[in-house]
Structures are given as C-alpha cells and as structure tokens.
C-alpha cells in the first residue's frame, strides 16, 4: 500500500490540498502593506513639502517643531499611528499571515515544528496587549486631524473648498471610522460588561459592533487615504500638481 498520509510526519511549508489560489490574499496584503511602509518611511524622512496653502499632511500633524529636535518632525508623532496599526487586531492577522507565514493561509502547512511557537504569550508579541493605549494616543491625534480639516476650509481668511480639503476630510473621516470600529473601543464601551447599564449603552454598542464588522475595510481604506493625503499635499507643495478650488 502506498503511504500518502502519515499523521506523525511533519509536512513541508506550503503543503496543502487546497486547489484555490490560497497564496493570492497573503501576497496582495504583503505588497499593500510593504508599499505603504516604504512610502510612509520615505515621506517621514523627507521633513519638507508637508504643507501647502491651508493643508497639512496627516503624517506631520500636529506639527511639532522644536530647536532640540534635529530630525523630521514626523517622527515625533508617527510612532503613535504606527503602534496603533501594528497592534491592531486586524493588521495582526494580516501580517502574521503575510510576513510571518504563521499560518500562510488556512489549512496550508507552515512546515515548522510546534514546540517553539509561543503565539502572543512571550516577548515581543505579548506587547500586543497594550493596543488600547495606542487607541488613546490615536484618539488624541484625531482631534488635531479634525482641526486640520477645519483649517483646510480657510483660504487666507476666506471660506473655500479645494480638492485638498476633500482629501483631508475623507482621510480624517476614514481614520475616525477606523478608530471607532476598533475592538478595544468596542470592549471599552460595553464589551467589558456582562449586562448593559441601559438601552442607550446597548444601542451604542450595537452601532460600534456594526462598524467593527467592517474593521478590515476601514483599516485598508484609511491606510490608503492617509498615504494619498500626504502624497497629494507633497505633489502640490512641489508644484507637480495644482490644487483645484471647488468653491
């Protein structure tokens, strides 16, 4: 008899009977996240072209300029959204699959032996547990981003709307939805309780749960938009693009 399955034997990486394109999703996510990381790092190192007219790039907001800080001001704040996304329950799934191949896809072999695996119980991944504090930091940043949106309507003291205003508004809206749909926020506003205090609390919990179901959507759209908002302002500031006034 031909032995084709031996449960005690370890399989090599990628062994599966799946016939679909299981590798496509982790590959697309790896490329998407990789491109964003490359662009964001490059943009943060630039330290210039982050303002144009009433617009300020979200990578540089709030704009903190100090004499003692000799690097790009972006680094003073970018660690907050970076930490927020790195510890996000959704992105954890995405990068554990795409970069750590742990697992590469469902029912696809990792090809490694079990005993070394510690999941999120030891350093460094045990630090994923501080996600709620990054949520707090990201919420503070959101206030600054909304104030940037308000400023983006002000063209030398006159009310106006440019394409950049729309871009900054869309970016801040998507980032707000991303934060509101966060699992830690859902826990904070009701998930931590076995019994809701009142009907209003339950209603809010239901709404947040609804947004939470689409957390992946908010995660990707806000990631794309925050990169695009910086790119748009950078292009305008470098004179490559012209900001069109709509109103």
């Amino acid at each position: 008899m031909v032995t084709i399955l031996n449960q005690s034997k370890k399989e090599t990486f990628g062994t599966t009977q799946r016939k679909d394109l299981w590798w496509l999703e982790p590959l697309v996510y790896a490329i998407g996240l990789g491109l964003f990381l490359l662009y964001a790092t490059w943009a943060a190192f630039q330290g210039k072209n982050y303002e144009f007219g009433p617009y300020l790039s979200p990578f540089y907001s709030p704009l903190l300029i100090f004499d003692w800080w000799h690097f790009s001001p972006a680094f003073l704040i970018l660690w907050i959204p970076a930490g927020f996304r790195a510890t996000c329950y959704y992105y954890r799934k995405a990068y554990y699959r795409s970069y750590f191949m742990d697992p590469p896809a469902c029912a696809v072999s990792e090809g490694c032996s079990g005993e070394k695996y510690t999941g999120e119980t030891t350093f460094p991944f045990i630090f994923q547990n501080i996600h709620r504090y990054f949520l707090l930091g990201a919420t503070v940043l959101l206030f600054f981003l909304w104030s940037d949106v308000i400023k983006a309507f002000n063209f030398n003291g006159q009310f106006g709307v440019g394409v950049g205003t729309v871009v900054l508004f869309a970016n801040t809206f998507l980032l707000t939805m991303y934060s509101l749909s966060c699992h830690s926020f859902r826990h904070l506003i009701g998930g931590c309780m076995d019994s809701f205090k009142c009907g209003y609390q339950f209603k809010i919990y239901e709404k947040i749960s609804c947004a939470n179901e689409h957390h992946m959507f908010w995660a990707w759209t806000s990631l794309f938009m925050v990169g695009f908002a910086d790119f748009y302002i950078r292009m305008c500031s470098m004179g490559v693009w012209t900001d069109i006034r709509l109103l």
Binding site: M1, I4, N6, Q7, D102, C106, A107, G114, G119
Partner: protein, 250 residues
C-alpha cells in the same frame, strides 16, 4: 424534463486507511441534482466500498458529525454541494488532519470532550433573580449555535501545525467560555483558566476558525478578541491593575 445533472459523473479521491498508512482511492459517482459530498460518499459506500468508514447523522448541517477536508478545506460534507465544485477535476476527501484517524474518514475527536470537561460550568450568582434583559442575552445566543463539528479545532494552526493540544483549548472552547463569561447571570471567573490552562495567548487571531465555521459564528471577533480584552483588563493593563490595588476591587 431531463435533469442536466443526469449522466454527469464526478471523480472522487477518498482517503482509505488509518493514522499511519493509507492512500487515496479513486471512485466515480453519478451526479444528481442537489447532491452533496456526503451523498457521494454514501453512494460509494453502497455501491463500491461497503467498508468505507464515515461518521454522519443528520445530513442537515446540525449534528456536526460529518466534518472532513474537501479539496483541502475543512467542511461539513453534508453542506458541501457538488455544484460548488469544478466537476471536471477530481474532488479530494480526507479526514480531519488534526485528530488521530481511526479509519478512512472517521477521526477520534475525544480530546475535545476532555477539554470541555475542564471548563467551569455555568455558576449562577447567589440569590439570582432569573430575569434577564433580551439585550444581554442576544450576545451569548450566537455562541449557542455551535454544533461541535470541530472544523475550527481542525483548522487552527496552533493545533494543526504546532500540535499544542495539551496547552491550548482551541477556538470551539473559547466560544463556549465566551458564552459563559458574558452571561449576565454567571458568577464564575474563568479568566485565569483561559490565560493559563487554555492558552488563549497562543491564538494569534489569524481567523481560520471563523473562516471555516459552518454556523457562521464570528469566533474571533465576537468570542476570542473580547475574551483577550478581558484578559488584558485583568493581567496586562497597568492602570487597571493599580486602580484595583488602590481600591481593592477584583
């Protein structure tokens, strides 16, 4: 009117053997309209291989007995319609990978029952007023849909690849604990068991359990992550820990 399915044949490769030795055997099955993989296995059993071992019971996706791997994906065979497959290619049917094979498609899933026994049962609060608000029970209702098919246990890489069975309870039992922990009238505390004995920290929320659940339970989003957050409250949140120390709260 003649059914378009008549005369069409499907090729199956079914695992025949035990845990240490076996092979995939090819069978050809005539396809009928509305047929599911379990029907095909029954056809093979009736006409070609009467000794083919398979576990099943309801044929209605409700008993959880007929879990297997169809084309490499953990599924209920009675819920896998043939018209969802490309019948020009053969369909592979294998037993669940994460549990010892007894024979052919039947596995020994008794480890799961042992894990289940260790979970603290529902423990009502003292002098419980047995009235609950609908809004409070809605959330735990989802977890009661579980039919114990163990597809989630089978696909979870902590069990499947890393074989951490003794240290890790698995998604099905996080669902059960979530149903108890979030129950408005339950007074028991299972968080320390979850962290230490059931190894919830090994779960890296990669969501394969949710992808395969035939009952569409949002295992990761609604059970595991909320439980992880409760564990952070108790064991990892420094401010909450200080607060509890100062005010002497649990």
């Amino acid at each position: 009117m003649a059914s378009p399915y008549r005369m069409k044949n499907a090729k199956f490769k079914v695992y025949r053997g035990n845990a240490s030795e076996g092979q995939e055997v090819e069978y050809t099955v005539p396809v009928e309209e509305g047929m599911v993989v379990l029907d095909a296995i029954h056809y093979i059993q009736k006409n070609q291989a009467p000794d083919l071992a398979v576990r099943w019971n309801c044929k209605a996706a409700k008993c959880g007995s007929c879990s297997a791997e169809v084309n490499g994906k953990p599924k209920l065979m009675c819920k896998s319609r043939l018209d969802d497959f490309n019948l020009d290619e053969e369909i592979n049917v294998r037993p669940m990978k994460s549990f010892p094979i007894i024979k052919d498609l039947a596995c020994d899933v008794s480890w799961n029952y042992e894990v289940n026994k260790k979970i603290k049962p529902f423990t009502p609060k003292e002098n419980t007023n047995w009235i609950m608000k609908q809004r409070d029970v809605d959330r735990v209702q989802e977890f009661r849909k579980c039919i114990e098919c163990f597809a989630c246990q089978n696909v979870c890489h902590v069990i499947r690849d890393h074989d951490l069975k003794p240290k890790f309870a698995g998604p099905r039992f996080f669902v059960r604990v979530a149903g108890l922990e979030m129950h408005p009238l339950d007074a028991a505390d299972r968080l320390s068991d979850l962290k230490n004995d059931m190894g919830i920290g090994f779960c890296n929320i990669t969501k394969c359990c949710t992808e395969v659940c035939p009952e569409d339970i949002h295992i990761t989003d609604n059970a595991i992550i909320p439980l992880k957050e409760r564990i952070v409250d108790k064991y990892y949140d420094p401010f909450k820990m200080i607060f509890r120390k100062i005010f002497g709260m649990q």
